[in-house]
Symmetry: C2
Subunit: 144 residues, 2 copies
């Protein structure tokens, strides 16, 4: 049994081909961020009949069990394989999401919370370097 199957099983879930396929895809895409729809599109390549609802169900249990991480931007959920604390930087201009490392200790930040911590997401919004550059070149939005 592969490592992906082990992960699914060890989190108390049944191993099915759909779950393996989706978890593989998310875990292999290191530093990448996926919408449910993009995952659906991907899985449909080999399994054209899989409905969106099944993908949503799978993503939901994966997130609940801590197999993957999720957060919401612009009314849609994004999923990623990295469950350790890091920064998700969302560019409001091009929509891209990129990871940044946290050099400080986010665990000490979480320690401030009264209660049991299950997950944490630091979502930073702004304009990425690339967009800043092209906006300056075009004389747009320099004042932001």
């Amino acid at each position: 049994m592969g490592i992906i199957e082990e992960q699914i099983k060890s989190h108390g879930l049944k191993v099915t081909p759909q779950r393996v396929k989706i978890l593989e895809y998310i875990k292999e895409g290191d530093g990448e961020h996926f919408s449910a729809e993009s995952i659906h599109q991907y899985v449909k390549k080999e399994n054209p009949n899989i409905p969106a609802a099944t993908v949503y169900n799978i993503l939901k249990v994966f997130t609940e069990r801590g197999l993957i991480n999720s957060f919401e931007v612009n009314g849609r959920a994004m999923y990623e394989g990295r469950v350790e604390p890091h920064i998700n930087f969302y560019c409001e201009s091009c929509g891209k999401i990129t990871d940044s490392e946290i050099h400080g200790d986010i665990r000490s930040i979480e320690a401030e919370v009264k209660g049991k911590v299950l997950s944490s997401v630091l979502l930073v919004k702004g304009i990425c370097e690339e967009c800043l550059k092209s906006e300056k070149e075009n004389g747009i939005l320099q004042e932001i």
Copy 2:
């Protein structure tokens, strides 16, 4: 002109009664978190004709201009008057959102991001103390 009106005007927006009412409500609710719907319900008390769309529009411009802060949980946007960095702790059991202070320096964390930072939200999910207690008393979910 009151402080609320000044804030609206200084952010380059026209001062309207609806905007004043909504900004007052959000800013007065210190440490509270509001859904668009709850704000709509509140404003309807004095202005029964105001449609949800107007409330959504107002919340959108307020957020874009940095007058208020927003983040998304469970497919819905939440708004708060605090724009300085802090922790939003969401309890997955009772749904309540509470603020915690950040004692570390989140500015240094934001400095890791390559690009221009416009806003940042640290959303921690878990089970609040209250729910932990009642769950233990009832013998439910202790193993989480």
